[in-house]
């Protein structure tokens, strides 16, 4: 697939900059676009139970968001250091940025040091194929510094930093994501109860999300380097997924992170319990087999997330849905509207 195929015109006026509950009181006040084989329907998130059936299984990500954005002081002055993924004690993948709105690349050199809180971090090596990300080593654990001084990672389209709670969902349990797995954000206890009363079941996987989805830079989408993320699929979850499939019901991922985790455990006999780091890149050449649907947000042009949607329902249908969303003023990004994609 060529990168241009994932391009679309995205009006910046559609970027959501505020959590919906700050304006409308409830997280489920966002809109819901439903894409099925028979077309697209417009709804509000509170209508979600209407589109699911008894026996369907919703799979959430129980990774909680870290306050992963820190201020660093180094040879280039003060700048933002967003932690992406913890690899080992004191060894992280991180993204240095001029500031939240300006990504760099910064003129960093291997061996360069910076002060972060009471720690000294040193740049070890750029990530192969993604030079804006660096492995950094710290002279003491960074977790306590995140707790004291970190703020949630945020970008230019968000005018203020919201409290960390705004970046957690009903399912957030294990801290470790640099960026919020945001698809579950609009699910309130009330919606969850309504779904359960209707016979829809819930389970969860763990995938600690790294910094934001990258714009694909290679001409051929499949050649883009993607970085790995820690994940875990338990035997109880694998069991539920397989029994749901065997029973002819639908498995629906809440978020692209869940698709990545479940697909990383796929075998010809279904999914299996597995944990580690996954580098899986789900694109149309790597079709989705473990899920029948995806509840997600709206994704930027030319991103790996968009390639995943194309793997799920084919690119023409994705682009059709996005035209529909733009024409109807749906809002983008972590505080934006929702998209339920069902392939059967």
């Amino acid at each position: 697939m060529k990168r241009q195929e994932l391009l679309f015109e995205q009006p910046r006026t559609l970027f959501a900059s505020t959590p919906v509950e700050a304006e409308h009181g409830a997280r489920d006040a966002v809109r819901l676009l439903v894409t099925t084989p028979s077309g697209h329907q417009h709804a509000t998130f509170a209508d979600l139970p209407r589109f699911l059936s008894a026996g369907d299984l919703l799979v959430a990500n129980e990774s909680a968001t870290l306050a992963a954005s820190l201020e660093a002081r180094g040879p280039s002055g003060s700048y933002t250091l967003d932690l992406s993924t913890r690899y080992a004690e004191g060894l992280w993948l991180a993204e240095p940025r001029w500031d939240p709105a300006h990504p760099g690349p910064m003129p960093i050199e291997s061996g360069e040091e910076a002060r972060v809180g009471d720690a000294t971090v040193r740049y070890v090596a750029p990530y192969p194929g993604i030079p804006r990300l660096w492995f950094i080593t710290a002279d003491r654990p960074l977790e306590p510094i995140l707790q004291r001084a970190g703020v949630p990672i945020h970008y230019g389209y968000v005018q203020q930093v919201w409290p960390l709670d705004a970046y957690q969902s009903l399912f957030s349990r294990v801290p470790g994501s640099a960026e919020m797995p945001s698809a579950a954000r609009p699910i309130t206890s009330k919606i969850r109860e309504a779904l359960e009363a209707a016979g829809v079941r819930f389970t969860s996987v763990l995938l600690h999300s790294g910094v934001s989805s990258l714009e694909i830079e290679t001409d051929q989408v499949e050649e883009q380097a993607v970085y790995p993320e820690p994940f875990e699929v338990s035997s109880a979850t694998a069991d539920l997924v397989n029994r749901t499939r065997d029973g002819g019901h639908r498995v629906i991922a809440i978020g692209t992170t869940v698709v990545r985790a479940l697909e990383s455990t796929w075998t010809p006999d279904g999914v299996r319990p597995r944990q580690g780091f996954t580098r899986l890149f789900v694109h149309p050449g790597n079709p989705v087999r473990s899920v029948d649907g995806l509840l997600t947000g709206f994704h930027d042009p030319v991103t790996s997330h968009l390639a995943m949607l194309a793997a799920l329902i084919g690119l023409p249908r994705v682009m059709e849905a996005y035209r529909e969303a733009i024409a109807n003023g749906y809002r983008w990004h972590e505080f934006g509207d929702s998209h339920l994609i069902l392939r059967k």
Binding site: A125, F277, T278
Partner: protein
């Protein structure tokens, strides 16, 4: 604010690795990645000049580097290496990376000169085992990890690759068996297939061919970063593909 230009933290200063075949290619890339994290390194390679050049580059990181040129198939050289390890007093990571490709161009097994095959097994199978023998007391004390560098040729059955491939298959089984035997001693053993890389060794395996489509050894850095974070006993007995899709921790 008191700030040293080379802050050495106790936690990092304690990390020590012995890497064979460290003057170039994958061995050098891993050495550089660890040196930039201020690991103490003990390095070896057969040829003195490239090894000393490599050491000069690595010392620029501020890490403590000791290098001994020599052939890992020589008993005396292995004893010298391990004497250095003992003086340092710790060994968190032993990377058996030095490998012998064998007769070139690759002969079919039916035509394989046995002396060349003996040399392949000497370097790729017996030498890593002999180093493990000698390092065991300090590995045990450090609860260290042994990494044996393997190859997809160990499973492929590719014509012409039978000499090198069978030695790596032997190394794979040796790794798996040692993992079971050394578990009680607290020492982990893994085999790592780095995948095809743009290195001199890969060029030697494909003489005269253009290998510029293969990635540089840096492509494996995320894997090494991940491996650093693993408990040696949790991953012991596994065979990893550094360029594979999933790096799995057994349940």
């Amino acid at each position: 604010m008191a700030q040293s230009s080379n802050p050495v933290t106790p936690a990092q200063a304690e990390h020590v690795a012995l890497i064979t075949g460290a003057s170039r290619g994958l061995g050098f890339t891993v050495a550089e990645f660890l040196a930039r994290q201020r690991w103490t390194l003990i390095l070896t390679a057969r040829h003195e000049v490239p090894l000393l050049e490599a050491v000069k580059r690595l010392q620029a990181t501020g890490a403590s580097i000791r290098a001994l040129p020599g052939d890992v198939s020589q008993d005396q050289h292995r004893r010298d290496l391990v004497a250095t390890v003992r003086r340092v007093g710790r060994l968190n990571l032993l990377i058996n990376n030095a490998s012998e490709l064998g007769a070139s161009p690759f002969p079919a097994l039916v035509d394989y000169p046995l002396d060349a095959l003996r040399r392949v097994f000497e370097v790729n199978v017996l030498s890593p085992l002999a180093l493990i023998h000698l390092c065991l007391p300090v590995l045990r004390k450090s609860r260290g990890l042994v990494v044996n560098i393997t190859s997809d040729a160990s499973r492929g059955g590719y014509p012409g690759w039978g000499g090198y491939g069978s030695s790596k298959a032997a190394l794979d089984l040796l790794s798996k068996t040692l993992a079971n035997e050394l578990r009680e001693a607290g020492v982990g053993v893994v085999a790592v297939d780095p995948g095809d890389l743009r290195t001199q060794m890969h060029q030697d395996a494909f003489p005269g061919q253009d290998i510029s489509d293969r990635p540089l050894p840096e492509v494996t850095l995320p894997f090494w970063a991940w491996l650093e974070g693993q408990d040696p006993l949790r991953v012991s007995g596994q065979r990893f593909e550094a360029q594979g899709t999933v790096w799995e921790v057994p349940a």
